[in-house]
Amino acid sequence: MSTTALPELEPTKPVRAPAAGTPVPARRKAVPRALLAGGALVALVLLLPLAFLILEAVQDGWSTLHPLLLRSLTATLLWNTVSLTAVVTVLCAVIGTLTAWFIERTDLPGRKVWAVLVVVPVGIPDFVTSFGWKSIFPSLGGFWAAALVMTLAVYPLVYLPVAAVLRSADPAQEEVARSLGLGRVRTFCRVTLAQVRVAVLGGCVLVALVMLAEYGAFEILGFRTFTTEIYTEFLSGFDAPAACALSLVLVVLSIFVLTGEGLSRGRGRQSRAGGLAARVPRPHRLGRSRLPVLAGFLALAALALGVPVGAIVYWILHGGASTLPSVSILSAAGHTVFYSAAAGLLATLAAMPIAILSVRHPGRATGMLERSTYLVLALPGLVIALALTFFSERYAAGFLYQSTAMLIVAYAIMFFPLALVAVRASVAQAPPGLEEVARSLGRPRLEVLWRLTLPLVAPGLAAAFCLVFLEAVTELTATLVLIPTGAQTLATQFWAFQSNISYGQAAPYAGLMILIAAIPSYVLGRWFDRLPSRAQAAA
C-alpha cells in the first residue's frame, strides 16, 4: 500500500523481452537450485518436531486423543492462551513501535542509552522477570499479571526489527511528506507506519508465537496455558499422548497466527534509492512533549528492567541459606555462552537461504516454505527436545543424543524464526537491482552473495545472531533433556534454586544471565547506531 504512492527504485527489467502478445511474467526469475536445496533442507529439519507430533498422534489414535482434547479444560486453556496472546501482542506492537520511532527518529535526550536499555529486557529470561515481580508482590497472579510481565519481557521483539528498518529506511519519504504539508502525526501514520509495517507484523508474529510456547513465567505466576499444561502432563504422568495432543492444538493456533500475518503482510516492497548509503535522518523535534515522552521511557525502564534487576539485587543481599548443594557458576556461564553463541551462528546461517528465497523469489511455494519454519516457535522446548530424541533413537541408534552438537541444533531450531525475521527484514530492504546489475556484469552468483548481499544484510545478520543468542541464554526445558550429562547452564541452575525457593542462591545466576545478555543487546544498539555513518564513509 505504501509503495504505490511513494518513489522507489524499480528493479532492472529482465533482459529477455517477452514475445509480443504473451502476458508479461511478473518478475519471475529462475530459483537457484543450490538456494532451493539449502532452503528445503533447513525447512525439513525445522519440521521434524511437527513430524514427531503427527507420528505420535497417529500412533495413539483418535480414541486416545479424543477424551483428552474434547473436555472443558481445553476450552479454559484455549481462552487463557488466546486472550493473553492477543492482549500481549497488541501491547508489544504499540510499545515496540513507539519506542523505536522515538529513539530512531526524534531528538529524545539520551537516545543512545535508551537504544540499549529498551533492548536489554529481551535478554532477561521471562521467568526471571516473573520471579522478580512475584518475589516483590507475592500475591501477584492471574491474567493481568501474566499480561504485564510478558509484555515487559518480550516487547523488544517488536522494537528490534522496527528499529532496524527505521534505521536503514529512507528518511526522505518522511521529509517529502512533511514538506508537502502533512502533519507530524499523519506523517507517522501514513509514511512511517507504512515503512515499518512488515517489521511490526514480523515482530508481532514472534511475540504471539513466543507467548504460545512460554512456560517458566506462567508457571511462576500460576497462570495456566496450553504450554504449562503440556509440561504438567509430562511432569505428572509421563503422559506423552496428552502432551502431544495439546501441542498439536498449539500448532493449529500458530497456523492461525501465521495465516493472519501472511494475509495482512500484503505485497508491499521496501527498498531505497541511493544504494548502500543510509542518510542520517534529521530528527523530529519533540519540543514540549519531550518531558512526557522521557517520563514514559523512564517508567518502561523501571518496570521492565528495574523490577527484575532490583529483585535480583535484593535477593543477593538478603537471601537465606539453601539446602541445595552449590555448583560452579563460572562453568555454568561458560556452557551458556558457548551453546548460545553456536546456536546463534547456526540459526543465522540457516536463515539466509529461506530469507533470500522468500524475498527474492516470492511465490506460493517459497511463501509456504518460509511460513512453515515459523511453526516451530510456538512449540514448547520440551516437545522439540523429545522430537530430536525420538528421531535420534528411532532412526540413528542414539547418534549425537545428549551431545553438545544436538543441543546447539535444538536451540537453532527453536529460535530459528527469530533469526529469520531479522535476516528477512534486511534482505527485503536491500535493492535487488544491485545484485542483478552485478550478475549482469558477469560476477558469479556466490561472489555476488559474498561481496554484495552479505554486506547489505549485515545488520540483519547481527540482529539475528543477537536475538537467537539472547533467547538461547534463557532456554530451560529442552536444555534439561538434551544437555550433555553433568553439564549445567545458568538457566538450569537458576531454575533448580528457584524451584527450591532458594532465591538468594538463584539470584546470582539470574544476574549473570542478564549481564551476558546485556552484551549482545549493547552491541545490537551500537551496531544500528553506527551503521549509517560507517556506510557513508565506505561509499
Binding site: E219, F238, T389, I408, W450, L454, V481
Partner: protein, 349 residues
C-alpha cells in the same frame, strides 16, 4: 576500500560466518570426543539433589567408579528413558516416588535388582517384582499457618479438606507427582466416584492456590498466602533449614491414623535393562541401601526417612516407627495411572 574492509560490515560479516563455521566444527569435535573414561555409570536423578549429591560423592570415593548425574523431574526422566529405549545412556534411575519406577518396570525396561541389595530394605518398600529397591521414605502431612489457624481447627482427615469451610484457604499441588499417591489412596478407600467428587471440591476450595510444587505450597502457607496445605513432611523441615526457625510461621500436623491422606511415599532406584554397566550399577544400588548410604540420608538436609539397614533419621522429626499411615503398599499405588485419570477428569491435569 581494502583498508576499510575490516571495519566495514563486509569484513565483520565474513568474520562472523567464519567464526560460526569454526564454532560448529568445534562443537562436533567436542561431541565426538565426549566418550567416557574407565569405569563410570550414568545416573538419571529424579530425587532432590540434596539427597543425591552426598550419596554420589561418597560412592565415588569408596569405589573409584565415577557417576555422571543428570537431574530432572522424575517423570521427564522416565519419559526420556522410554524414548531412548535400548540406546539409553542411563544405567541407574533414582526417583522421588515409586510410580515412576513401577511405570518403567511395567514397560519391561528395568533389570532385576540383586537379592542382597533388596534384602537391606523391608520387603514392603521394594518392588514386588524385585526390579527396584526402596531407598528412603516421606510421609504426607498437613501444613498450616500458625497465625491463621489454631491446632484445634485442623481437619483430621484429608477428606475434610473438601468441606466448604476451607474455601479460599487451601493450597495443594495437583500437578506434583507427590500428590498422586494421596489420590490413589483416597480412590482405593472410598472408590473412584467419591475420589473425583473430593477432587472437584478441593479444586473449588483451592481456587488460585493450586501451585506447581510442594516447595511453593510450603512457602506460601508459611507466608500466610494460604492457610493450609498438603505436603510431604520434609519440605517443611527444608524450608526451616533455609529461612531459619525464627521465620517459620507454619507447622505440620498429621492426619488421624490410617487416614487415606496419611501416605508413605517410597523413593527408590532401579537399573536399566539396557545398561552396559550392570555390575557397577548394582554396586551403586547396594551402596545406597547399605548402612553407610542410609546414614548419609539420615543426616542429610533432605530430611527424608532412611528405610534400609536399620538406620533411623538423625533429624528432629517424628520417628518413622511412630507414623501411623494408611497401610497402602507400593503395589497398590502402582504407576499412578488411576490418579492421573482422576486428576484429568477433575480438569486438574
Amino acid at each position: 576500500m581494502v583498508q576499510e574492509r575490516c571495519s566495514s560490515p563486509t569484513g565483520a560479516t565474513r568474520r562472523l560466518c567464519l567464526l560460526g563455521l569454526a564454532l560448529v566444527a568445534l562443537s562436533c569435535l567436542l561431541a565426538a570426543c565426549g566418550g567416557s573414561s574407565s569405569r563410570s555409570i550414568t545416573l538419571y536423578n529424579g530425587q532432590h539433589e540434596q539427597t543425591t549429591d552426598a550419596l554420589v560423592a561418597r560412592f565415588e570415593k569408596l569405589t573409584g567408579i565415577s557417576v555422571s548425574v543428570r537431574s530432572d523431574d522424575e517423570d521427564v526422566l522416565a519419559s526420556q528413558i522410554e524414548a531412548e529405549g535400548s540406546n539409553s545412556p542411563a544405567d541407574v534411575i533414582y526417583t522421588e516416588n515409586s510410580p515412576a519406577l513401577e511405570y518403567l518396570q511395567n514397560k519391561g525396561l528395568l533389570a532385576p535388582v540383586a537379592p542382597t541389595a533388596l534384602a537391606h530394605t523391608p520387603a514392603r518398600y521394594n518392588s514386588p517384582q524385585g526390579d527396584w529397591v526402596g531407598v528412603s521414605a516421606r510421609v504426607s502431612v498437613l501444613i498450616y499457618n500458625t497465625r491463621l489457624l489454631k491446632p484445634s481447627q485442623l481437619p483430621t482427615s484429608v477428606m475434610q479438606l473438601a468441606d466448604p469451610e476451607w474455601r479460599g484457604k487451601l493450597a495443594f499441588a495437583a500437578g506434583e507427582t507427590d500428590f498422586q499417591p494421596i489420590v490413589t489412596s483416597v480412590a482405593r478407600t472410598y472408590g473412584q466416584a467419591a475420589a473425583l467428587h473430593w477432587l472437584d471440591a478441593l479444586k473449588t476450595n483451592a481456587g488460585s492456590h493450586i501451585y506447581p510444587d510442594n516447595e511453593t505450597i510450603t512457602d506460601e502457607v508459611n507466608r500466610g498466602q494460604a492457610a493450609i496445605g498438603v505436603i510431604n513432611q520434609y519440605y517443611w523441615y527444608r524450608e526451616r533449614a533455609q529461612v531459619g526457625a525464627a521465620n517459620m510461621h507454619s507447622k505440620i500436623a498429621y492426619f488421624a491414623p490410617r487416614d487415606p491422606g496419611y501416605v508413605i511415599d517410597v523413593s527408590g532406584a532401579g537399573i536399566l535393562k539396557s545398561s552396559k554397566h550392570q555390575a557397577d550399577a548394582q554396586k551403586f544400588l547396594a551402596f545406597v541401601v547399605s548402612r553407610q548410604g542410609q546414614e548419609i540420608i539420615a543426616h542429610s538436609d533432605s530430611f527424608e526417612y532412611p528405610i534400609a539397614s536399620g538406620v533411623h533419621t538423625a533429624q528432629p522429626e517424628t520417628p518413622f516407627a511412630d507414623l501411623r499411615p494408611n497401610p497402602i503398599g507400593v503395589a497398590a499405588l502402582g504407576d499412578g495411572a488411576t490418579a492421573i485419570s482422576l486428576l484429568q477428569k477433575a480438569q486438574l491435569l
